[in-house]
């Protein structure tokens, strides 16, 4: 028989307000194996921990059950208290009588028996607990940043400054992300390139930063401190060591394709750098449009390149490296508004998205910085901005607010007035949201000083008539129909997750919300951590964000990564899985399901009749196992036990609740 002690916490009135503590203590005394029961107002306080430590020593306890809040909150606190008294910390069991009981019930008559049942289950489980040892693991002192937008750049710079090596993996030919596409930035109207380019250059030149552009992550294995990552560096067909970035190749290339950077509004060459300030200044050949790759003829770039950097035979290269921490900073996309037929996007060149309009302002953009209509090259005199395209639209789009649109629309309206002084802007909005330092003032300025008419309402239809676009809507404040003959329409299309976010999340091992934005571990207290230890998130891949917020989050993620990399050793997982090989049939379904590739087949020998029979069974590598338990529930014959949560422990809990023994 074990000697179990039960300790019940009032948690102020959080538990005691709904659970009759005295009754619960009394009932606990009668559980099998319980030799001591006590209660305290705040068990997690120093006094509370002392009570536990003393009681263990005085009563010679070898098992401890605490009835408290969720083990997520304080399991560690109490394990430490048990260890203080010389008990193996895994011999302590938490019964969650707060989140699972007092917080979800109102009636003390009902909550008290439930708390007793939960404690009885925990005591039954504790009786079967075994002493466990957590392994100590090495930390690879290097970080990986996925995504080279402003978030990735900032995180990498901070980690590098702390003295650790960082690799940035960026899928595009250059780092910079969306910020490189912007003209000026709210709320101060400084030019985006002017503040971004120095950071890009700093990252490229930093001795601790290694840029892997035009690269993608193929595989992530391992665990915190030791992630083994395969990175695919896509063939550029240009030798980056020889290339001087002189630009002769893209000047001479005769073949063109729509420019991704310019949102398809203009063309680039088949050998190209995405934009003038690209880092690195090394072009790539786009195989799909290159004449040589398509038809086997051309090779002009090869002939013209002075240092002979062109190499059509280049292959994708796989780089395998180990990292201690990973920061995911893969940013966002804009919703394609063609799904909303009423706005006519894609039907007329003067109906644009916000991001496209940014490019129209830009001196190196498709119009050379002249704000003109793409249909006829004349400056637009009346521009209609429509907010919330796909945002805050439960029925057809996204439930959430895209957060940045109100502000960049005000910005674009101001910039328009500066470039085309006789232009008039109209903004159709649901609400104007301008939380942020200097934001409200900025938006007021647009409305009051830059001739921007804000109209609360919705647009029902846009169609071309003569040389303009007719915008028909309704003013929801006055309920009047509105019709504007506009020259240009700008749609604030929703900020959405990258199309490949679910795939990347799966690859890296982090989860996302139903919109595919990556999930933080706790919305308030762990905003940059994920549920996977050692993997952090930053920037617009977590939720829509502007630049100031993105940069703060990136630095926060960097700090978390630095904290991890600075550790000598990490404590590994004690609760790992174990195969009962005599029962294992070797179906290897567990191998298929294990997200950490911790399970491998091994051959064992067994006596059979007069000889031996070789057969395959599963084996768990405890260094790789993270104790997720997926294998244990996959095994039909129950041939896997998760230490600390073994099948008989779980069954003992179920029995203790159901059989009320």
């Amino acid at each position: 028989m074990p000697r179990t002690g039960v300790f019940i916490c009032h948690c102020g009135t959080n538990i005691a307000g709904t659970v009759d503590i005295d009754k619960t203590v009394e009932a606990s005394r009668n559980f099998p194996g319980v030799v001591h029961a006590d209660e305290y107002r705040y068990l997690c306080s120093e006094m509370g921990q002392d009570i536990i430590t003393k009681a263990i020593k005085e009563n010679d306890l070898d098992r401890v059950v605490v009835g408290t809040c969720s083990p997520r909150m304080h399991e560690n606190t109490f394990r430490k208290a048990a260890a203080e008294a010389g008990l193996n910390p895994y011999l302590l069991e938490v019964a969650n009588i707060r989140e699972h009981c007092s917080w979800v019930h109102k009636d003390m008559e009902e909550a008290t028996p439930k708390a007793i049942a939960l404690l009885r289950a925990a005591a039954a489980k504790a009786a079967l607990n075994e002493a466990l040892e957590a392994p100590r693991l090495d930390v690879e002192k290097r970080a990986l940043v996925i995504g080279g937008g402003i978030a990735g750049i900032q995180a990498a710079l901070d980690i590098a400054e702390a003295g650790y090596e960082v690799d940035i993996v960026e899928k595009d030919p250059s780092i910079g992300g969306r910020m490189a596409q912007l003209e000026k930035t709210f709320p101060t109207l400084d030019c985006s390139a002017c503040i971004l380019t120095p950071k890009m250059v700093e990252a490229a030149q930093h001795p601790n930063i290694n840029l892997l552009t035009y690269s993608e992550v193929d595989e992530v294995k391992g665990f915190v401190g030791q992630f083994d990552v395969k990175i695919r560096q896509k063939a550029r067909y240009v030798d980056p060591v020889k290339c001087t970035g002189c630009g002769i190749c893209w000047e001479k290339c005769p073949s063109k394709a729509p420019s991704e950077f310019e949102m398809g509004l203009s063309k680039r060459k088949s050998i190209y750098v995405p934009f003038a300030q690209a880092v690195p200044m090394v072009p790539v050949i786009d195989r799909d449009s290159c004449l040589y790759f398509r038809k086997g003829r051309c090779q002009i770039c090869e002939k013209e390149c002075p240092p002979q950097a062109i190499d059509y035979e280049q292959q994708d290269e796989i780089i395998e490296r180990r990292y201690g921490a990973i920061v995911v900073a893969t940013g966002f996309d804009q919703l394609d508004p063609t799904i909303y037929g009423e706005y006519g996007y894609g039907q007329h060149p003067d109906i644009l998205t916000g991001l496209e309009f940014e490019r129209i302002f830009n001196a190196s953009g498709p119009t050379g910085g002249k704000v003109v209509k793409l249909s006829d090259g004349k400056p637009p005199k009346k521009v209609v901005f429509i907010q919330c395209i796909g945002s805050r639209d439960k029925a057809r789009g996204m439930n959430y607010c895209s957060k940045i649109c109100c502000m960049y629309t005000a910005k674009q309206a101001i910039l328009l007035k500066e470039k085309v002084p006789d232009a008039k802007s109209y903004v159709f909005y649901i609400d104007v949201r301008t939380g942020g330092k200097g934001y409200e003032e900025f938006q007021r300025r647009a409305a009051e000083e830059h001739d921007v008419a804000y109209m609360r309402g919705q647009v029902g239809k846009i169609f071309p008539e003569d040389d303009h676009l007719v915008v028909r809507g309704i003013d929801s404040l006055t309920n009047r129909n509105i019709e504007i003959k506009a020259d240009m329409v700008v749609l604030a299309a929703a900020t959405v997750a990258r199309g490949d976010a679910p795939e990347l999340g799966r690859l890296v091992g982090i989860n996302s919300d139903s919109y595919h934005f990556f999930n933080e571990a706790h919305p308030k207290l762990k905003p940059v951590e994920t549920h996977t230890a050692g993997i952090f998130i930053a920037g617009a891949c977590q939720a829509p964000k502007d630049i100031p917020e993105t940069v703060s989050q990136a630095s926060a993620a960097a700090v978390k990564a630095i904290g991890l990399l600075s550790k000598e050793k990490l404590q590994g997982e004690a609760c790992t899985a174990e195969v009962i090989q005599s029962d294992c049939s070797g179906c290897l379904n567990c191998e298929a399901i294990c997200p950490y590739t911790a399970i491998t087949p091994v051959e064992i020998e067994e006596r059979y009749k007069d000889g031996v029979l070789k057969r395959t069974v599963a084996e768990v590598n405890p260094a790789l196992c993270q104790g997720c338990g997926s294998c244990a529930v996959t095994c039909r014959s129950g041939s896997i036990n998760l230490k600390g949560f073994s099948n008989d422990q779980i069954m003992a809990e179920v029995d203790a609740i159901c059989l009320q023994r």
């Binding site: 139903s514 379904n589 087949p601 129950g638 069954m651």
Partner: protein, 324 residues
């Protein structure tokens, strides 16, 4: 009549005897006639004399692949006659790592569907003495004369709705394939059950499952029940109570059925083996239907390379609990 067609039995015998007598296989799993003319049971042939007993007629319902589990312990190389369902069962074993492909030679038999003795009795209105088959019709001889019936109306339940009568895997195909069959009523009973209220459905299963003797014949016949120690027999923890009560019977049947999710090959052997006629296929097919609806068309046992839906993760997998 015992043999549907002397010629085709000879063809099968010819194909396997070369391999067995030539030493390419140590054992052939086939069928031989049982105690009655309307029974064919497994044949374990090791010699020419054994092969004389080989049968290939309208009563070879027993799924032979499952016998590999035991036989491969004692034999290096085994030949198996496989109908559509036996072949899918083989793939099941292959996918569960229970056999290695190179240990087995499969002789494929496109299957016309097996006959149900009870249906013969019913049609004939008495104990039939023998049958002859001709162009999709069956002539049943009884004491008082003859009865004629459509062969399709006399099939076993498991064969009536069989979509893939041709073997999905084989080394040698002994007759010409007939192609995928269109089945319309495969999920009919499941749909009827789905229509019921929860109480009605519970009542239905309570009544059906109350008959279960827990003899585990269903499990012994099943190609997915290849566990070394089934959960029902485990002592620590004891998942399954020994008592014959409705709740314990439910426990067994729910767990058994769930263990077949995405794995049951719809061979119907469990139901055919059950001595008290519990409609196990309805449980199995409910899960087949659910898998198809949740994860797209998946037919277990057709292609061992295709990843089973419950052992793979796809970003667009349904996640009802986290949907907006």
């Amino acid at each position: 009549m015992a043999e549907r067609n002397v010629e085709s039995v000879n063809k099968v015998r010819e194909a396997v005897s070369q391999d067995l007598l030539g030493g390419r296989i140590d054992l052939l799993l086939g069928w031989e006639k049982g105690h009655y003319w309307w029974q064919s049971r497994p044949l374990f042939a090791r010699s020419e004399a054994d092969l004389e007993k080989l049968a290939w007629d309208s009563f070879c319902a027993v799924n032979l692949s499952r016998y590999l589990l035991e036989e491969l312990k004692d034999h290096d190389k085994v030949g198996v006659l496989v109908k559509g369902c036996d072949a899918r069962a083989f793939n099941r074993l292959l996918q569960d790592n229970m056999v290695r492909r190179e240990q087995v030679i499969l002789y494929g038999l496109p299957c016309p569907g097996m006959l149900d003795y009870n249906r013969l009795v019913e049609k004939a209105g008495g104990a039939p003495l023998e049958i002859t088959e001709e162009n999709g019709r069956v002539i049943i001889k009884v004491g008082s004369g003859e009865q004629e019936a459509q062969r399709d109306d006399l099939l076993l339940d498991k064969c009536k709705d069989c979509r893939y009568p041709d073997p999905a895997v084989y080394d040698q195909l002994l007759f010409s394939p007939q192609g995928e069959k269109e089945v319309t009523e495969r999920f009919k009973t499941v749909e009827e059950l789905e229509e019921m209220s929860a109480e009605e459905r519970f009542g239905y299963w309570e009544k059906e499952l109350s008959r279960c003797l827990r003899c585990y014949a269903c499990r012994q016949a099943c190609p997915f029940c290849s566990c070394r120690e089934c959960f029902v027999e485990q002592e620590n923890p004891r998942w399954q109570g020994r008592a014959y009560q409705p709740s314990e019977n439910f426990m067994f049947h729910l767990v058994r059925a769930y263990h077949g999710t995405g794995r049951c090959i719809d061979c119907g052997e469990c139901e055919r083996s059950c001595p008290v006629d519990i409609p196990l296929q309805e449980l199995n097919r409910k899960l087949i239907k659910d898998i198809n609806e949740l994860y797209g068309d998946y037919e277990a046992g057709l292609d061992p390379e295709q990843e089973p839906p419950l052992l793979t993760y796809r970003p667009d997998d349904p996640a009802a609990f986290s949907e907006k």
